[in-house]
């Protein structure tokens, strides 16, 4: 399931290596795989069909650039098409909040899609980023304690909420909210509506009535990114009743491939504005089409991985590490730090799931071929070494290894495996320096124009004979923290 699309396409195109333009037969064969990848990512079937047709037309006859395989070329074209579709081509117009106050933003969606949390997040975002005075009102009289939930969230974030008056209808509350916002000088009023099913006629009519009574400046559809094929029905049902102006995708911090994004964009025709990325109330990000495209194609969330690495990597440690790397040193203590970072990022299975080409490793782990406790064990081995041994692993004699194995509850083979891995990582670091540091690495990994499938697949990512995954590749990943916010040490290193 986590096999990357480029790997799959590789099989089809192996025999084609070196040909010129993509032929229709080749493209159609490749698109069958793309189709499955999209369906597995939960892109809705009608959307997949349209998309495949458009991408096929574009791919046929395209020149295969030298040094990439035809499979990679197809992936690039598909990836480009996806980004175009997700981003919508044109410049994203800003939210209509600079109207005669109060601007009304109405939130709609299914039950459990994350409307109330998203309302609070958006309110916070408008307050801090746009410096608006925001009020929230819950029109949800159906779910027990829903109004209470928004009130509590308002308290937590310091955002005003409309006082709750029991017994009012949603339309009455909406009108009261708008009036209160106007009188009290609020810039924006957010209306959080009850969750409803597209097939529930009464509730859909109520939603239309609220929209009619308050004529919102923005109506945002809140959609769970875990949504499956039903996404088209949901989008269609809501679009038919209210003039949607945008979409918020929630739970993008989950491990779903997020094909619902494409379905939503396609069916509603409105931009995807935001992505909810966590339980905390500031976890709302501008929607990033590039990243989601890679994820839908199963090419791993490279950017996400890198950002996570950056967030977890303490600046001070990075500084120290960079110095050592610059000198071409990489000792056992450094390795241990890297292991600790990896654990923070959700352990091996978490990492494997995020990385492209690591499908085999993930599978091996699921089958028990790779022990997820591997990181702990490796750490134990390093901790059983003396300070001197850690700084200079080459002094490890057989006798010392036996002592370390006993001390860490492992075997000498395990110790040897770790040493080999360390050697590989140290070599990788050296290579990295030769390639022009972090920047060169970045280029190789992400490629130009989103050719994600091209570079990153760590060769031999599958389980090696000993059951260890290619840690050199993992190590390389860590040499590339953050496209946006590089820790200070790495900035320096990048210029080296």
């Amino acid at each position: 399931m986590f096999d990357s699309l480029s790997e799959r396409l590789g099989g089809i195109f192996d025999r084609l290596r070196g040909r010129g333009a993509l032929t229709e037969i080749d493209v159609r064969a490749a698109m069958r795989e793309v189709r499955v990848a999209l369906l597995e990512a939960d892109v809705a079937l009608p959307v997949v069909k349209d998309f495949i047709e458009a991408a096929t037309q574009r791919a046929i006859g395209a020149e295969v650039i030298k040094s990439v395989t035809p499979g990679q070329m197809v992936v690039k074209i598909v990836n480009d098409c996806l980004i175009e579709l997700l981003a919508g081509g044109d410049e994203l117009p800003p939210l209509k909040i600079n109207v005669t106050p109060p601007a009304v933003i109405m939130m709609v969606g299914l039950q459990g899609s994350g409307k109330t949390t998203s309302t609070a997040k958006l309110a916070g975002w408008l307050g801090t980023r746009e410096r608006k005075k925001v009020m929230m009102a819950s029109l949800d009289v159906a779910r027990p304690a829903a109004q209470e939930q928004l009130r509590v969230l308002g308290e937590q974030t310091g955002i005003a909420t409309l006082p709750i008056i029991a017994g009012q209808s949603p339309v009455q509350i909406a009108e009261r909210a708008r009036q209160a916002a106007r009188l009290q000088g609020f810039d924006v009023v957010l209306l959080d509506t009850a969750g409803r099913l597209g097939v529930d006629e009464a509730l859909m009519a109520e939603m239309a009535a609220i929209a009619g009574a308050t004529s919102p400046d923005e109506i945002l559809l809140v959609v769970d990114s875990l949504t499956g094929q039903d996404a088209v029905n949901v989008a269609g049902a809501f679009k038919a009743r209210v003039p949607l102006t945008g979409v918020i995708l929630t739970r993008m911090d989950g491990d779903a491939r997020g094909g619902a994004a494409l379905s939503m964009r396609h069916v509603t025709g409105t931009p995807i504005r935001f992505a909810g990325t966590g339980e905390k109330l500031d976890a709302l990000e501008a929607f990033d089409a590039n990243r989601v495209a890679g994820r839908i194609l199963g090419m791993g969330d490279i950017v996400g991985l890198v950002e996570k690495a950056a967030a977890n990597f303490e600046a001070e440690q990075a500084e120290k590490m960079a110095e050592k790397l610059a000198k071409g040193q990489f000792d056992m203590d450094d390795l241990r730090q890297q292991l600790a970072q990896m654990k923070k990022m959700g352990g091996l299975s978490g990492l494997a799931a995020m990385m492209p080409g690591m499908g085999a490793a993930k599978k091996a782990m699921d089958n028990g071929a790779i022990n997820p406790k591997l990181l702990d064990r490796m750490e134990a081995i390093i901790l059983s070494m003396t300070a001197k041994e850690r700084a200079k692993p080459e002094i490890l004699t057989a006798k010392r290894k036996i002592r370390i194995a006993n001390g860490s509850g492992t075997t000498v083979q395990d110790v040897n495996k770790l040493l080999k891995m360390h050697q590989e990582m140290a070599n990788a670091m050296k290579r990295l320096r030769k390639m022009g540091g972090i920047k060169g690495m970045m280029k190789m990994l992400s490629g130009q124009g989103g050719l994600l499938g091209g570079g990153p697949g760590p060769e031999g990512a599958g389980p090696e004979a000993g059951g260890a995954i290619d840690m050199g590749a993992l190590g390389r990943m860590f040499g590339r923290p953050g496209l946006g916010n590089l820790p200070p040490g790495f900035n320096k290193f990048g210029r080296k």
Binding site: Q111, R151, Q156, D230, A260
Partner: protein, 304 residues
């Protein structure tokens, strides 16, 4: 209204669509050719069965020889039969066999855990069981208030603490009270969590361990609540929650919408976990036992 009536009503729109996907190509009795098989496969994919399972069912249909041809109605019946065959072994109701039976309810955010608990409590109470609830979702704002309102409506006692409190100690307290007060069923709510959040999943594992302190066999049931609108990610949810919390059964919610919950078929084939019940509405009575033939019929559009 009967269960089937409700389900069919909810599914009617989408069922029609699926039925049209599968059929609507052939008028009269025709051989099951590639075009029709393609249409069937796509119809199944559109119901969230996933490409792999859809392809398998397609192959199985393709292997059968319909020498004299088959009409649309026949195609739907065969599809329903194939789906029902996959689902039949996993349709098992949740039985109360010990006292107190501790039921832990887990799932991702917004899947419908709290409402499902209310429905379960209502059903057990109607069966004459003494039910107690525990408001273990100490994270989401007003989750405790929500469950309290439900406990009140259903008329069962509830063990609740403060928001932001320790869920594990609350669960421990609840199990203790359930034993002391000799209730038959204790249902423990938990905060929704995404299965790829290692820290939150560790917390769930701890919660489960703590529950087992007073009664090593507890929790006797760990129910994973799945949202019918969820796509292929449901499989990942089952897998990870299964590893961490030892899920013993599934409940699927929101089947009254346009979603068809086809990933249950994929899940049944892969994990074989019992499907205890399905949620078909927001009312207390809207929790129904899972009936594979009817579910399959609604999925394939043989319902008329």
């Amino acid at each position: 209204m009967s269960w089937f009536g409700r389900l069919s009503e909810g599914l009617s729109k989408s069922t029609k669509k699926l039925a049209n996907n599968i059929t609507g190509l052939a008028t009269g009795t025709l051989p099951l050719d590639d075009d029709r098989l393609d249409a069937i496969e796509e119809g199944l994919i559109a119901a969230d069965l996933g490409p792999a399972v859809a392809a398998r069912i397609r192959d199985r249909l393709g292997d059968q020889k319909f020498a004299k041809g088959i009409d649309d109605e026949g195609v739907r019946a065969v599809v329903a039969e194939e789906v029902a065959r996959v689902l039949a072994p996993v349709a098992l109701p949740l039985a109360i066999t010990r006292r107190p039976q501790v039921i832990l309810v887990v799932g991702v955010n917004g899947s419908g855990k709290t409402t499902t608990i209310a429905k379960l409590a209502h059903r057990f109470k109607a069966d004459g069981q003494r039910v107690m609830l525990a408001a273990g979702d100490t994270f989401r704002a007003a989750a405790i208030a929500q469950l309290k309102i439900w406990a009140d409506r259903v008329g069962v006692p509830i063990v609740a603490g403060e928001q932001g409190g320790d869920a594990a100690s609350l669960a421990f307290e609840a199990v203790k009270r359930a034993i002391d007060e000799q209730v038959d069923v204790l249902i423990i709510d938990t905060a929704g969590r995404l299965q790829n959040k290692a820290g939150l999943m560790d917390e769930l594992a701890k919660l489960k361990r703590v529950i087992g302190k007073l009664d090593p066999a507890a929790p006797h049931d760990v129910l994973l609540v799945l949202d019918a609108t969820t796509g292929q990610n449901a499989l990942s949810q089952i897998e990870v929650f299964g590893q961490v919390a030892g899920v013993t059964g599934l409940v699927m919610t929101k089947l009254d919408g346009s979603a068809r919950g086809g990933m249950l078929v994929a899940a049944a084939g892969r994990f074989g976990l019992p499907i205890h019940a399905i949620g078909v509405g927001e009312g207390m009575d809207d929790l129904q036992p899972f009936r594979p033939e009817e579910f399959a019929a609604a999925l394939a559009g043989t319902a008329s």
